[in-house]
């Protein structure tokens, strides 16, 4: 298992963002769904070793991120795309990706090839020498994806990766996620249920800091058909049915 969470809680003051989450995940693409404020980003940030949990046990890639040595090793095998990608406008596409490859301490002789491969995977070759300040929002998103995958991570965490991508790029990126999921654990936090349907082998749904559903996209669809879900697509109906059930249980 690349992800082993046991009763993880994260509090910000009195606010409980993540409330006793337990989750295991191996290779494959795990979609993380949930409404705004459900705790998806906090959970993702804990998986990315940015935030330590307030309580609970967290093991990533077989190591404990609370220990400096363990955290270091986890980060070698980690790729992360935050919801809001910060970047340095004066860097070129290649420089930005190379910069992160070097910060991830990839073996230097592998860096040039890895950067070239990452740039090609996100189809940014023609813009490789362009300064980041000249790129559109969608292209910047692709730069973010490239820096996340440059080290061929065992654990890839993507927060809203397809936001801002055009339909053609979105289709290409879903294929890339499926490809990466063959060997790595890919966790995708998204609001776009069609991404989940097209790319994810498993789905976890969060509401009020808790995991309220864990299953395959097919099982999520089935919940919609059986319950009181609303929406245009079967997955949307499954999503809204589970959410409605969670709210009812909470009240």
């Amino acid at each position: 298992m690349n992800i082993e969470l046991s009763d993880i809680t994260r509090k910000f003051g009195r606010t409980v963002a993540v409330d006793g989450v337990s989750l295991d995940a191996g290779p494959g693409v795990l979609g993380l769904l949930g409404p705004n404020g459900a705790g998806k980003t906090s959970l993702l940030r804990m998986l990315a070793t940015i935030l330590p949990p307030s309580s609970g046990q967290l093991v990533l890639l077989g190591r404990d991120p609370a220990k400096p040595g363990g955290r270091r090793e986890i980060r070698r095998g980690l790729g992360y795309l935050p919801q809001n990608l910060g970047y340095y406008p004066s860097f070129t596409v290649v420089e930005f990706i190379e910069y992160f490859a070097l910060l991830k301490e990839m073996p230097p002789h592998l860096v040039p090839k890895a950067v070239a491969a990452a740039v090609e995977k996100v189809d940014l070759g023609p813009k490789a020498r362009a300064k980041l300040r000249t790129l559109s929002g969608g292209m910047l998103r692709r730069v973010g994806i490239a820096q996340a995958i440059v080290n061929e991570p065992e654990l890839l965490l993507l927060d809203e990766p397809t936001a801002g991508l055009d339909p053609e790029q979105r289709v290409a990126f879903r294929a890339l996620m499926r490809d990466l999921g063959q060997t790595a654990t890919v966790v995708v936090s998204t609001h776009l249920v069609e991404d989940v349907g097209a790319a994810c082998s498993e789905v976890a749904m969060m509401a009020s800091g808790k995991i309220v559903f864990r299953g395959t996209p097919r099982e999520l669809t089935a919940r919609g058909e059986a319950g009181q879900g609303v929406g245009d697509a079967p997955l949307e109906r499954g999503y809204s049915a589970i959410l409605a059930a969670a709210r009812t249980a909470a009240s």
Binding site: P52, L103, E105, A116
Partner: protein
């Protein structure tokens, strides 16, 4: 997805992050501004000083630091705050390389451009000086002190930017360091120039004597202390930067922070902080023991007594019956000095006590005497010895040039130089208590008239005399018009008649017993 030709990336291992940072550093864009500031302030100031290595090098630690320091702090703060400003904190936090290594690359790139610009400025000043200087070589301690000070300013700014990331941190760091460097240090200089440790630890100084480092070596003691103090501050701040993640992770207590950040990081941070603080404190303590000597500020614990001996030299001389000599460092001024003194020397040649030679001696002996410092083995300025020798220094002789020997206003300088020479001959040695500036006595009205007449006779501009108002003063009872009339009367005599009158009345004239009415 398409396969395309990508830019060639280097496979060399070391410092690749640093190379990217150097290529994209914001400091690169500030280099033209720094060079423009350098040219308008530092270079032009240095060019205005005589081509004496020590004098010109004072600009390196004074004007250049004022130009480079605040900008260095501001740029470094801007670079350090970029993770906060550009919201890359989360992304960066998931990488393996520790924060200190990442920050070292960013700081290194900033320093690369700042120091490149700084050293280019130093090179420009030194090349310009080398093309004009006739003696000595470039002093390196000011360069070392200046480099360390630029680094210190940058590290102060970088620390501020890293700890308080925001768009206002950079301008505040620049303004803060500017105030620290200028107002603080200069205030300290003005309050107690000889005793303020704070002023001594600053490389900012007042304009040095024009022959500093010429007759005596400038001891490196103070520069070593300044380097120690500033390097200490720099190392301590690097310790603070190293420890910053520990405090950020200490929301569950310090021990938890130490555990999460790693023990070795904490040990390194604390060690840097302790070593830096110790070095800075040692610098402060050493500066507190500084004493003025012929070689500048001496720190007893660092001082090499051998450096207090005069630097041997062979003067450059011109003239035959009356020789005019300068220190080889001032040989560019020899022709002008010779041309200025020969005509007035021939006017008084053969008179009792007339000098046979003029030679340059160290300046500032009045200041040094007031501080109880003796000039070992070198005579003071004035007219003395047998046969009499007129000794002048660069302060009352050559300093008015204040620049290259060529292209200066010779007429004004020449008149002053001649006036000092004649005053030393006619008015005699200085009276006690006349202060640092007086190498000759204030002439009486008759003496002033004679000096004016002799200068007029050689075609020089009329001399300017200060009014001595003490006790009615030696010029009391004579108006400038009366002195000018007497001078005109005396100047209208034939050279032989002037010479004969002077030969007969010189002793009385020097004693101050001759009145204006007694002048022929």
């Amino acid at each position: 997805m398409t396969a395309v030709a990508l830019p060639r990336l280097s496979r060399r291992r070391p410092a690749r992050v640093l190379r990217i940072e150097i290529r994209r550093s914001v400091a690169l864009w500030a280099v033209p501004l720094l060079l423009a500031l350098f040219y308008c302030d530092s270079f032009r100031t240095a060019a205005g000083f005589p081509p004496i290595w020590t004098v010109r090098s004072s600009v390196i630690t004074d004007n250049m630091i004022a130009d480079f320091g605040p900008l260095a702090a501001g740029l470094a703060a801007w670079v350090a705050s970029r993770e906060g400003r550009r919201k890359t904190g989360d992304l960066i936090a998931t990488t393996v390389r520790p924060a200190w290594a990442r920050q070292a690359s960013a700081l290194g790139a900033t320093l690369f451009w700042l120091l490149l610009a700084y050293l280019a400025g130093v090179a420009a000043i030194y090349i310009d000086t080398a093309m004009q200087a006739t003696w000595g070589g470039p002093p390196l301690w000011p360069v070392a002190a200046g480099v360390v000070e630029v680094v210190t300013f940058a590290v102060i700014g970088f620390t501020a930017g890293a700890l308080f990331p925001g768009r206002f941190t950079a301008p505040l760091a620049a303004i803060g360091t500017f105030l620290l460097a200028e107002i603080g240090f200069h205030a300290a200089l003005q309050v107690e120039p000889d005793r303020s440790t704070y002023a001594l630890l600053s490389t900012a100084t007042s304009v040095p004597l024009s022959d500093d480092g010429v007759f005596y070596r400038v001891a490196p003691d103070l520069a070593i202390t300044q380097v120690m103090f500033m390097a200490g501050i720099t190392v301590a701040l690097l310790g603070v930067l190293t420890l910053a993640p520990v405090f950020r992770l200490s929301y569950r207590g310090l021990l938890s922070g130490v555990s999460r950040a790693g023990r070795w990081l904490c040990v390194a941070g604390v060690a840097l902080l302790a070593v830096g603080a110790a070095a800075a404190a040692t610098g402060v303590a050493l500066a507190g023991t500084a004493k003025l000597s012929v070689s500048g500020w001496d720190i007893p614990a660092l001082h090499d007594a051998a450096s207090d001996q005069p630097v041997p030299y062979t003067p450059d001389c011109a003239g035959t019956s009356f020789q005019v000599c300068v220190h080889p460092a001032f040989s560019g001024f020899l022709a002008s000095a010779n041309a200025a003194l020969q005509p007035v020397a021939s006017e008084i040649a053969g008179l009792p006590g007339a000098p046979v030679r003029a030679e340059e001696v160290p300046s500032g002996e009045g200041v040094r005497a007031a501080q109880g410092i003796l000039l070992a083995g070198l005579p003071a300025a004035g007219l003395s010895g047998t046969p009499p020798v007129y000794r002048y220094n660069s302060d009352d002789g050559l300093a008015p040039f204040m620049g290259s020997p060529a292209g200066t206003d010779n007429a004004g300088w020449e008149a002053g130089f001649r006036q000092n020479f004649l005053t030393a001959f006619v008015a005699g040695p200085p009276r006690a208590g006349q202060g640092a500036d007086a190498s000759v006595a204030q002439p009486t009205a008759a003496q002033q008239a004679v000096i004016t007449a002799l200068m007029t006779a050689v075609g020089s501009a009329a001399p300017q005399f200060g009014e001595d108002m003490s006790n009615g003063g030696p010029t009391a009872g004579a108006t400038p018009a009366q002195i000018a009339a007497a001078a005109q009367r005396f100047a209208s005599l034939s050279p032989a008649a002037r010479h004969a009158w002077l030969a007969a009345h010189l002793a009385a004239l020097r004693a101050g017993t001759i009145t204006l009415a007694q002048l022929p």
